[in-house]
């Protein structure tokens, strides 16, 4: 009986929205009068588990196996299935990252259930969780309820919960070694690589100037770059701009790119109905509370 937050790290750093997931788990636990737990998966997560041990959690699970060193959907699904069988949580929360999108539907299916993905907020009605997600590229909201048995699985949109609201405390760390065999893992991931030279972290940018197809010509990007430089902002773009090769893919924001949470988002030549404007809407949502 608890809320379990499954957190992402790459061995060096936390996933950008990991703490938001912890905050959401703590908030739900308080509202439902239960406890929050957290889990990290991957080899060598001791330092990450130790950091979690200083938060207000009932327990921290350190899921460790040499076959979990590189992410694979097979490995993570099998490991989490075993963790869920052991911890028996009511609700399992994830951040809605590319990695979670890759394995969460598989995990849910293997448990005979459906995950509610990309949740923007929630409320409690008669002791039941009602999750809010967006439809039609953010144009309308829909309330979603769990109708099946436990556990209930959900992934949270970046910026939906406040990372700075995580409560401190003390939690024991429990190491979990799942049963995994090499033959269980069918995909073979090779080392990640970057295509462009300069690393851009739009997620950490305070000010973003974003450009869309209204800019008309590649040459006009220089004009927007000047504005971005003047504001000390990062330059971002909607999908068509990156598809056309006018800016590298790593600068893409919107429903098919990165979710950003800057203090200011300036859209130049981006239609309101363009998926990239969701970057703005998410940011507005993030800043409201």
């Amino acid at each position: 009986m608890s809320i379990l937050a499954v957190l992402e790290h790459n061995g060096q750093a936390w996933g950008r929205t990991a703490w938001e997931t912890v905050a959401a788990a703590q908030q739900l636990a308080t509202e439902l009068n239960t406890t929050a737990q957290a889990a990290v998966i991957r080899t060598g997560g001791q330092a990450f588990a130790a950091e979690l041990a200083k938060k207000q959690l009932e327990k921290v699970y350190l899921v460790d196996h040499e076959l979990l060193n590189d992410y694979t959907p097979d490995g993570y699904t099998l490991a989490l299935k075993q963790l869920i069988a052991q911890a028996k949580p009511n609700v399992v929360l994830f951040a809605h990252t590319y990695q979670v999108r890759d394995f969460l539907p598989k995990l849910a299916t293997s448990l005979g259930t459906v995950a509610v993905t990309d949740v923007v907020s929630h409320r409690i009605e008669d002791g039941h969780i009602v999750l809010v997600r967006q439809l039609f590229q953010g144009k309308v909201n829909v309330d979603v309820r769990f109708a099946g048995g436990m556990p209930h699985l959900a992934s949270l949109q970046a910026g939906a919960y406040r990372a700075d609201k995580v409560a401190d405390g003390e939690a024991p760390v429990e190491a979990v070694k799942p049963q995994l065999a090499e033959s269980d893992i069918r995909t073979k991931p090779l080392a990640p690589f970057r295509e462009s030279q300069r690393a851009v972290d739009l997620g950490a940018a305070e000010i973003i100037v974003s450009v869309g197809r209204g800019i008309k010509e590649a040459d006009n990007i220089a004009l927007v770059q000047k504005l971005a430089d003047a504001l000390g902002a990062e330059l971002a773009a909607s999908r068509p701009i990156c598809d056309a090769g006018w800016l590298p893919m790593e600068r893409q924001v919107g429903s098919s790119g990165q979710t950003v949470a800057p203090k200011m988002y300036m859209a130049i030549g981006i239609l309101r109905r363009d998926p990239a404007s969701r970057g703005h809407e998410r940011f507005a949502h993030h800043r409201r509370d």
């Binding site: 993905t117 109708a147 970057r194 690393a199 851009v200 990165q258």
Partner: protein, 257 residues
């Protein structure tokens, strides 16, 4: 023996046009029907793989009778044949039940490769492909930018976050969800449209497939417009004056610069 038969089918594209309707607040008449954009890229990738390696492209689509329009478009673009899961009330199927429909329709096909779009333009669950892979017990990879065929396996390029990419190898059969925008979509030619008329469309119903929408794991209740707390302000004057006013507001009211 069966294997050789199946390999001739490489690859297979799915247009899982998720025409999920009948929600309170959204009238069917308000929606237009076209290939879900992400699925159009899956179809394009399948057609390109067929051009390189041969095989057969089968388009699979679940939707009401009028989804036939979408299917004809896929056939006109070059899919060899199609399967239409005719179901009026797909909205009643949760993502798991919807994927069960697709899995059941694919049972007799045993494709080497299943390609789907990343997500639907409407509900954006982004789950159908991965659920289908698990139901069919296939390895999968999502957000795929490139597909390279090896001997009995494939190597794909996956998009990760923040400009990172990764190659992943996996045995066939497998399922991939294709990133949108990775290629230029082709148009159907006049010849293609003509040829499409004689191509096979196999129709099946949910009840024939033995899949029902009963006992969903999640239910959608209220659909509504999000509350807007934002205001729009327009600044008059010359561009220079308007820019000065905007900077003033950003500096002292919003305090963001």
């Amino acid at each position: 023996m069966k294997l050789s038969l199946l390999s001739s089918r490489f690859p297979l594209a799915i247009c899982s046009c998720e025409l999920r309707l009948r929600l309170n607040g959204i009238e069917e008449e308000d929606l237009t029907y076209e290939i879900n954009e992400p699925d159009a890229y899956a179809l394009e990738e399948a057609l390109q793989l067929k051009e390189k390696h041969g095989g057969e492209v089968v388009a699979l689509c679940a939707g009401p009778a009028r989804a036939a329009q979408t299917i004809r478009e896929a056939l006109a673009k070059g899919a060899d044949r199609a399967i239409h899961i005719e179901e009026d009330d797909l909205g009643a199927f949760d993502p798991l039940a919807a994927a069960k429909l697709l899995a059941a329709a694919l049972k007799s096909e045993s494709p080497d490769l299943i390609l789907t779009g990343l997500q639907s333009d409407d509900f954006g669950y982004g789950q159908t492909g991965v659920i289908l892979a698990e139901l069919l017990r296939l390895p999968h990879a999502t957000i795929i930018m490139q597909v390279e065929k090896l001997e009995g396996s494939i190597r794909v390029k996956r998009e990760l976050e923040d400009g990172w990419f990764q190659q992943v190898e996996m045995p066939l059969p497998a399922l991939l969800t294709i990133q949108s925008g990775i290629s230029k979509l082709r148009y159907a030619t006049l010849m293609g449209i003509k040829k499409a008329k004689s191509k096979e469309i196999r129709k099946v119903s949910a009840s024939e497939l033995g899949v029902t929408s009963a006992n969903p794991a999640i239910t959608l209740s209220r659909v509504y417009l999000p509350e807007r707390t934002k205001q729009t302000q327009l600044f008059d004057g010359s561009p220079k004056e308007a820019a000065a006013k905007l900077v003033e507001k950003l500096k002292f009211e919003a305090r963001v610069i």
